[in-house]
Amino acid sequence: MKRLLALLLLLGLGLTLGGCWNRRELETTAITLALAFDWDEERQLYLLTAQVAKPSAPTGEGGGGGGGGPSFHVYRAEGRTVMDAVRNITKQSSRRLWYGHIQVLLVGEAAARRGLAEPLDFTSRDGETRLLYWAFVTRGRAGELLQRPVGGERIPALALNQLAKNRIATSKAESSRLVDLYRMLMSPSGALMGLVELVPGQGSSGNEFRLEGSGVIRGDHLVGFLDGRESRGVLWARSGVRSGILLVPCPGVEDRSLGIEIIRARGEVRPVLGSDGKLEIQVRVESRGNLGDQDCRVSLDSKKLIRQVEDSFARGIKEEIMAAVERCKELETDCLGFAVHVEKRYPRYMEQVQEHWHETFMQSRVTVDVSAKIRQLGGALRPVQPR
């Protein structure tokens, strides 16, 4: 009898005490897939846009679905802080928003220029969010990108998620997850965020997203942008290039190109502090590529020609890196992450220059050494030679 009573008591406690306050029912929950933060300078308010999945949305193709409207709903709210805005959404939504499945976070240009630390603070404090979703910066208002269906995808957040995964095909944009962004923001160097824009689409598909280039963050403020080529220049140095096509001149044929498919790349940064106290940053990149296609009819069947192409390949990589270095110096920000390497090699020196590191970076000499190899020509040894 005693045992039974004890068991009943425990079961009763379990039923009455365990989590009744925080229960979430599916029918009262809206699953948030994307968030966008913007800053209204005039009114000094954060504008929050949340894209949530419609639970009973039709599954047809296209943004509108099978004639039943879009598969998502957009809520907008404003607040003095992001959390304030998050809670203000509940004034419009009958369902409580769930942030555990966010795919993408967009930060508008004005909010990013004002500073990322404050709007991002919510993401690491909230118990629902996880730090593995993508974080991008936009030109203009970020909320605009979540308003309408884009391209052939039903839900813009999912399209952006896929776009971020596909960026390795060109390596022309930084794609950071929130955890990477935190790592960069907390390091002495600058940070990069992938740049997403809305561009006019082809045919009837309306607008489309384009992920190319990167926003440069100094401290936690957006200070400028890198284009696609410069972004890849940064990624070479940071071992972030996974794939992509690099165009090099066709040997012996003017104005014609070969498309080298980047197969592998590894970047190494070695800071060297001279006896005169001057810092030199040595960047070394090793890359392998295959011939992807050629816009000329030269047969690359001799070692000499392959060497020529390899030299051009190496030169192309070096030019991209130097373009990135120049642009980062122009923006007065170490967006290549050199500070992290200096801190590893010369921690005491880094302590001294940390306060004015970006100025030190601008005065430092950067040298680039590239070793590039072509290993495969694909399925054809020679180009098509019509008779």
Binding site: G19, S124, G127, P347, R348
Partner: protein, 363 residues
Amino acid sequence: MGTITSQQAGWLTFLVRITVALLLMPSLRHVTKGPDAWIGIILGSLGGSLVVWFLARSALRFPHLTLIGRLKQAFGPTLGSALGLLFLLRVLVMAANTIRGFASLLIGQPMPETPGEAFFFLTAVGGWYAARRGVEAVARIGELLGLPILLLLLLLPALGFSEMQPSALMPVLGYGWGPPLRAAIFPFCIHLELLVLTMLVPYVRDRANLVRAAVSASLAGGALIALIALAITMFYSAPSAARLTYPLYDLIRSINVAEVLQRLDALFLLLWAATVYVNLALFFWIASVGFAELAGVQRPDPLLPALTLLLVAMATKAYEGIVELTALESPPIYPWTSLPFLLGLPLLLALVEALRPRAACEL
């Protein structure tokens, strides 16, 4: 009341060693510069394991006495009982701390609107229920859960490997020994709390293996926490990890293997709840046996309901929030709240015992 094996005592040592450390991973916060928290944890654990060795060796000199018995024997009934009472209050503080930490994680993250009292009651009642079954039952639970907990705690952080950056561990000792030594304070001091386990000595059957089991368990616990600190540092980078309240929980909830294996935080909470449960059951049992010995009562069971209520009251009133909880585990507060009593008491006791005729040692 039952008896246990030295292996079971080892598992209990392991679980007591890791439970509080796992929650807040204080060493990550205590490093002011560089990513060397893991070195500090290893140093602290090595030093702490020496303390465990000393505690076990000195307890084995009087294998039939609990710590309360040894205190009474060494200092006489009045002073010995007073010191014993202080020790038991410390055990209750540790138990309240464990309950509070458990509730803090749940309230702070997945269940913010649930009153803490709900967790205090549930965990305290759970501890009471296990403790009333005796030390044998508590040790069996510890033995049963110990290995799965160890393996899962190794596996779960490892699942985040694809997002980890080994370069985040550089420079090693770039800022000298100062930062890791600061990080070593907590892991060293947490070993002092293992003094409570000397209450188990009279109940261990194969005492010849006890020292080895206790030291191995404390070293294994230190190695596990150091590996977890390595994983967290590689995942977040040292400065980013230092600002997180629950770094391990955050790491595990961010794991996403091939878009399939995710939201593993529930599994971690289950593991954490299991370690808390074993800890509490053990602390309950130790407190009840200790108070019974002090009061000269044969059976400790009747004391358990009162202890449960006392613990819930202590957990409710002891701390106001997470800021206090983290401050209590950080220098300069933590060493001062643990070193003088938890190291001073056994040292003083060993000194007095050494000066007195040695009792028969029955290993």
